[in-house]
Symmetry: C2
Subunit: 336 residues, 2 copies
């Protein structure tokens, strides 16, 4: 007797002495139902612990649910969490719920995961592209499912996208270092093949070129193996015959590594990270910051707009970054 079955509209209707359509009317809110009948129905529903079956409702209504999927590579990165929080927040305002799916940062599983979500008939798809090609989504997009690519642009797919001002953000950071005299500036990045990292690298090079530094390869530590710790990259920079007087990191992982190596170094090495992180203020670490929740909110908003007006043009939105001075980025190069 663990499994008495769930009450349906018909059960409630029977108990209330009305037709199931009337019960439906009560629960759908609409329709003409007298106060008297409504009350009888609600009482019966309560007695039977009735909950409308959204599966059936959505099926009947044409197969659209009220869930929006967010596909990410790896849940452990706090960055994604904040993005997810922003999405959730924005969706909740419209009565939509978010389902979270991960691809374990594996390009192969991306299509599989997305496929499963489409089978669930999600209303919209927000994803952080990880595979090299999102053209497999083209059909779905044509069917009216909004697709928003987050943090990186999708490839071979016309879709809305929200990305950060990666290039400008990094360039601004490097400029603030060159402005106080730094010329030998290290850059650590891992995984460096990723769109965001490539952009940030471009910003780094651009800012150095502006002050006449064209040869930067020796100061770039571009890895693509998550097992290589950022600490190692930093140490290898410091071991150079002419070590950099400042270092910038392409992401929060790099920052964490750099912080561990650089503190208590004599003479101190200037540092600026990309992505803000908890306690960066306590550690006096300057960073290029932005609002990850805003990234999520914007992505959700784009999807919602597209849902409201399916024929709207696709949009590319850039979330601004800003350089936060906390001390580590303001250390001048040693006088020589």
């Amino acid at each position: 007797m663990t499994t008495q079955s769930r009450a349906t509209l018909a059960d409630v209707a029977m108990l209330a002495g009305v037709s199931s359509k009337t019960v439906s009317r009560v629960f759908a809110g609409a329709g003409n139902v007298s106060a008297d009948t409504r009350e009888r129905v609600l009482k019966a529903a309560k007695r039977l612990r009735f909950r409308p079956n959204n599966l059936a409702r959505n099926l009947r209504r044409g197969g659209v649910t009220n869930t929006v999927a967010f596909v990410i590579g790896d849940l452990k990165n706090p960055f994604y969490f904040h993005v997810a929080a922003g999405i959730e927040r924005e969706l909740a305002l419209r009565g939509l719920t978010m389902v979270l799916a991960t691809t374990d940062d594996s390009p192969d599983s991306e299509e599989r995961v997305v496929d499963a979500l489409i089978s669930q008939r999600v209303r919209a798809l927000l994803l952080i592209p990880i595979a090299d090609d999102q053209s497999y989504l083209e059909g779905e997009r044509q069917l009216g499912t909004p697709v928003v690519s987050v943090d990186r642009p999708a490839r071979n797919l016309v879709a809305d996208s929200v990305v950060l001002q990666n290039r400008q953000g990094m360039a601004e950071a490097v400029r603030s270092l060159t402005a106080i005299g730094h010329r030998r500036i290290g850059f650590i990045s891992n995984p460096s093949a990723m769109y965001t990292q490539r952009e940030r690298l471009a910003g780094y090079r651009e800012a150095l070129r502006e002050v006449g530094v064209h040869e930067t390869a020796a100061w770039e530590r571009l890895d693509d193996d998550p097992d290589i710790s950022p600490e190692l990259a930093v140490q290898s920079l410091l071991a150079l015959p002419e070590p950099p007087t400042a270092i910038v990191a392409g992401n929060n992982r790099g920052s964490a590594g750099a912080v561990r190596v650089l503190r208590n170094l004599e003479p101190p090495v200037a540092f600026i990270g990309f992505d803000d992180f908890e306690l960066a203020d306590a550690l006096d670490i300057s960073v290029v910051a932005y609002d990850p929740m805003e990234l999520g909110r914007t992505a959700a908003r784009l999807a919602l707009e597209h849902l409201e007006d399916p024929d709207s043009f696709t949009k590319q939105v850039e979330i601004p970054t800003r350089l936060i001075h906390r001390g580590s980025g303001e250390i001048p190069p040693p006088a020589r």
Copy 2:
């Protein structure tokens, strides 16, 4: 022509020249279908961009989906993120997906949110209880939906639960302080009314009683207003005529505040936090740590067990904590 409609089994069947049941067989994996037919069907499906409709499938199958809901108060806390990651990971192994819903830490919305999820026919419900009473879930539980309460026990509801060794963890931390001579030990907690905080407070008091300290009220800073910053609580402790020589924090938020106030203090004040955090190692902060992903994994596993054996007894699981010595907790009291 943005909205050509989605292909169904019947469409595929027509194109492949078979019955829709056969197409169903192909996509459900089961059943006997000749290699020849299977191929024809797959080809037709591909051409029509067919995706099985899980809504219909689940409805037909008896109204159970393959989603599990995780209800949390506030997505921004990194702690929940890791728990969610653990859940997601474990569910993915069984082909289940996680939907995330938040209650905005508002007890009133808990029932509403849960109700909506039940309407979605989630397979199981994992929640961090925030309301005072979860008895409203009793009916659902009887209907066979596993309910697992995470991080705090549910109230007025027989349900599986996974919690941390809050009391022992905190007691261990305090004992390690008393062992090196501390007697005046501050405790900061906010929001302190919460189950976990009450437990940790109890552990703190217990450890102090063991060394003969029974009067601790003066060193306890128990707040229940998220707007009161932990920094303030710490400062008010330090302002005491006889300030504590060590401080422990009830959660990561408290630790962050304490770290900001305590560093560079002379003489140094010992500190141990509850919850590990990024870069705690770089800051030499000792903490009571545990594996938040494990909390999630365990919760998911309990739900899955219950799904497999609906008549199994409810279980209460405790996730172990461990004290990590990093320096801040090993500072002895000033010699006097």
